[in-house]
Structures are given as structure tokens and as C-alpha cells.
């Protein structure tokens, strides 16, 4: 907790992020290069799905990141409402569009994968629908946080929305267990170990780590932009 409060000061956060960004950028690029090589070249094609299985290496990490991103929005929303954490609002503002993009990538790649495998671009089953709702919740958060003339009001309204919307996350996670869906059940994080072969699991984990790094990188850069934007607003009001 002490660290979080340390970073609550935007100027201190900026010094921290400036120090972290070069290394983080390098790590993201390297990790993504290794991950893409393993996923697209090294890993074997699936015996049933052929080459299309490689869509998974983008689809699954973006789904994870979209969900984790919304969880993060809710955590930021809570810390804004409870502690009035000044950086939380800026970071939520920065993170929401990134999370929405991951959700969109997940939906689009899922659709591209569904066409050859299921024979359809889209089915209205529980997993797909709840993911679509997550995308809409992201859109609502983005629209609400930018709908007010005073940004603070938008931030707090969006924070309340994110705390309500977080109910959707367990629904997405367990939708494949609760309902009979076309989407396959969880195969990586489950009791008794992952149900997929290491030749596929390892590239998948590489891709997941690089998507995570990419997410953190984008959020840090966008948070810096938000700090600048807020400073500009204050300067304009003062002038």
C-alpha cells in the first residue's frame, strides 16, 4: 500500500514511469518477438484445426487482458472513490480505451477463428455474449468519463459504473461452465493442470506475458498523456 500512495503524486509517478519506460519498451518488443516466433513459426499446427489454431495465440491473451483490464478499472474506481487517489482517475481514463481495444481484438479474432472451425462468424452463446457486453461496458465507461465539462465528475461517475460492471467478469469466466456453449471450456487454468500440450502452452504463455507488458506500457504512456492534459486544462482555467 505504501508504494501505491508513493505513486499517488503525479510528479513522482512521472519520474517513476520515465525511469521504467525504456526498459519496459525493450522488454515488450523482445518478448513479443520471441512470442510471435514461437507462436507463428515454431509451434506445430493442430492435428484437427491445422494452421488456424495460431489465431488462439492472439485471441486468448487479448481475452485475458480485456478481463484483467476491467478488473483493474474497478480497482482504480474503488481507490478513487475510497481514497480519492488522484492518479487513479487519470489511469482509469488511460486504461479504458486500451482494455476496450483488447476486448475488440478478442471478439474479432474469435470471429475469424469461428468461421473455419464452427462454420459461423458469430453465435449467440453465453461466452460470446458476455464478452460483447464487456466491450459495451468499456464503451460506456469511456463515454461516461468524457461526458462532463468538469473531468472530475466524469471520473467519479465512471468509477461507480466500473464497480457495478465488474459483476460481469465472473459471468464471463464461468459462462462456459454454467451454460452449454459452443465455446470450449477453460483449458489452461484448471485443477489438475492445463489440458493443452506444452508445445502450444509455452508460446501461449509467452504471448500472454508480452500482451501484459504491452498493456502496462500503453497504460503508462497514456497516463502520462492524461497528466499533461489535466495540467493543460488547469493552466487554461487559470489563464
Amino acid at each position: 500500500m505504501a508504494d501505491l500512495h508513493f505513486l499517488a503524486n503525479p510528479a513522482r509517478f512521472r519520474r517513476f514511469s520515465q525511469r521504467v519506460l525504456p526498459g519496459l519498451t525493450l522488454a515488450t518488443v523482445l518478448c513479443l518477438a520471441v512470442g510471435l516466433y514461437l507462436a507463428l513459426v515454431q509451434s506445430p499446427p493442430d492435428y484437427q484445426q491445422g494452421e488456424t489454431v495460431r489465431i488462439m495465440f492472439v485471441h486468448v491473451p487479448s481475452a485475458w487482458l480485456a478481463m484483467a483490464g476491467y478488473g483493474m478499472l474497478a480497482a482504480l474506481g474503488a481507490s478513487l472513490l475510497v481514497w480519492r487517489h488522484p492518479l487513479a482517475a487519470l489511469m482509469a481514463r488511460a486504461a479504458a480505451p486500451v482494455g476496450a481495444c483488447f476486448a475488440l481484438v478478442c471478439l474479432l479474432t474469435g470471429s475469424l477463428w469461428g468461421r473455419p472451425m464452427w462454420g459461423t462468424w458469430w453465435v449467440w452463446d453465453a461466452r460470446l455474449t458476455s464478452m460483447l457486453l464487456l466491450f459495451f461496458l468499456y464503451l460506456g465507461h469511456i463515454a461516461l468519463s468524457r461526458a462532463y465539462d468538469e473531468s472530475e465528475r466524469g471520473d467519479r461517475a465512471a468509477a461507480i459504473l466500473s464497480l457495478i460492471g465488474v459483476i460481469n467478469l465472473p459471468i464471463i469466466k464461468f459462462s462456459v461452465d454454467w451454460w452449454n456453449t459452443l465455446h470450449q471450456p477453460a483449458s489452461v487454468a484448471k485443477l489438475g493442470g492445463p489440458a493443452i500440450h506444452p508445445t502450444i502452452l509455452i508460446p501461449l504463455l509467452w504471448m500472454a506475458v508480452s500482451f501484459l507488458l504491452l498493456f502496462v506500457l500503453l497504460v503508462l504512456v497514456r497516463t502520462e498523456t492524461e497528466i499533461d492534459r489535466r495540467r493543460l486544462e488547469i493552466a487554461e482555467q487559470g489563464a
Partner: protein, 221 residues
């Protein structure tokens, strides 16, 4: 509790004195519903099959339409500031306003829907089931919509934004409401669907008043 009753009575009286506001919402419901047979064509069996989904969707739109004035009038004329200062919980005030909204919108929609259902070729048990699902489901719409109304209070493009926030959160109610009527033909248990609708209404009853109060407080600052 006397504050709750007073606010509820006041909102009902205000609605009673301007019956046009409710009439417009109900007229929208009828017109929007009638568009479907006109657009899709008059095949009786097709209409009977989509009736539940259409009526539920248009009821959802109609209740969204009436929500953007839920707190706006009080916000503009200063009554909201008095509610914020009042010595009883703001959560109860928000709940009273949503209850009033349900009585003047949800209840008439639930009464009107079976009449429109007849035009879609529904009869007997499906009509009753339709009315029952709307009776149990519309409180959720009023509560979730009330939350969206509180969040968008004073925002630019309030109305469209309200729908964008509330509609995704209303999807579960829509799904189970429409599925309940289909359960009559597929032989599933109608009671289970009604129980889920009631559960959704109770969950929103237990959560949204607090969120609404938080949103109203930050609007009043």
C-alpha cells in the same frame, strides 16, 4: 420511512398532474411494437414466436426513454440539493424515485403488453406469462435505469449515454424475460425463469440504491 412515502407520493402526484409524459412513453411502446409486424410481414406463426422478444425489447426502450428526466428535474430546480441535505438516507430517496418510476412506467407497460401480445397472435397462458415476466422484470429496469440516470446527471448527450450505460446491464433481465415465455412452448419450467427474474430484481434492489446515492452525491458537489 415517512420521507420515503412523502417523496413517493410527491413523484406520483407530479406524474398524475402531467399525464402526457406517461402517455408519450406508452404511445412510443405501442408504435415501436407495431413496427415489427409491419416490417417483418404478417405471418402469424413467425409473429407469435418473436412476440416475447419484441415486446420485451420495446418495453426496455420505452422505460429508457422515460428515465432521463428521473433526476434531471430535481437537479435543475434544486430539489436534489434539499434531498442531499435531508436527515434521512439518500439511498431511500433514490429508491423512492425509482419506485415512482416503476409505478408510472413499468406497471402500465406490463398491463399494456398482453394487449399488444394479442395482436402478435399470443393467447391464454403466454399472455399471462408475458404480463407476469414484465411485472417481475420491470423493477430491475427502473433500478438499473435509475442508476444510469443518476450517473449521467448533467452530462452532455445525457439521453443516449443513459441508454448506452443501462442497456448492457439490462441484458440478463431481457434474456430471461423473453425466455420465460418461450419456456411454455418448449416445456421448460416457467417458475424457474420467473425465479431468476425475481433474483435479478432483488440483486439490483440490494445494490443500485447505494450506487445511485453515491452518484447523486457527486452530482450535488
Amino acid at each position: 420511512m415517512s420521507g420515503f412515502a412523502a417523496l413517493l407520493a410527491r413523484d406520483l402526484r407530479l406524474a398524475w398532474r402531467r399525464p402526457g409524459d406517461i402517455a408519450v412513453v406508452l404511445a412510443f411502446f405501442v408504435v415501436a411494437t407495431v413496427l415489427f409486424p409491419l416490417g417483418i410481414g404478417p405471418q402469424a406463426n413467425l409473429l407469435a414466436r418473436i412476440a416475447a422478444g419484441v415486446l420485451w425489447s420495446t418495453a426496455l426502450f420505452a422505460s429508457m426513454l422515460s428515465l432521463d428526466r428521473l433526476f434531471a428535474a430535481d437537479y435543475e430546480d434544486g430539489a436534489l440539493d434539499l434531498l442531499l441535505l435531508a436527515p434521512w438516507p439518500l439511498e431511500l430517496a433514490a429508491l423512492a424515485k425509482c419506485t415512482a418510476h416503476w409505478i408510472v412506467t413499468g406497471l402500465p407497460l406490463a398491463v399494456l403488453a398482453p394487449v399488444l401480445g394479442i395482436a402478435f397472435g399470443l393467447d391464454g397462458p403466454p399472455l399471462l406469462a408475458l404480463a407476469a415476466t414484465l411485472l417481475i422484470g420491470t423493477p430491475t429496469l427502473s433500478l438499473v435505469g435509475g442508476l444510469a440516470a443518476a450517473l449521467t446527471l448533467g452530462a452532455r448527450r445525457g439521453g443516449a449515454l443513459l441508454a448506452l450505460l443501462a442497456l448492457p446491464l439490462c441484458v440478463p433481465t431481457l434474456i430471461f424475460g423473453a425466455a420465460a415465455i418461450e419456456s411454455l412452448t418448449s416445456g421448460e419450467d416457467l417458475g424457474a425463469h420467473l425465479a431468476i427474474l425475481a433474483a435479478l430484481a432483488l440483486v439490483s434492489l440490494a445494490t443500485t440504491p447505494w450506487a445511485m446515492a453515491a452518484a447523486l452525491r457527486q452530482a450535488g458537489e
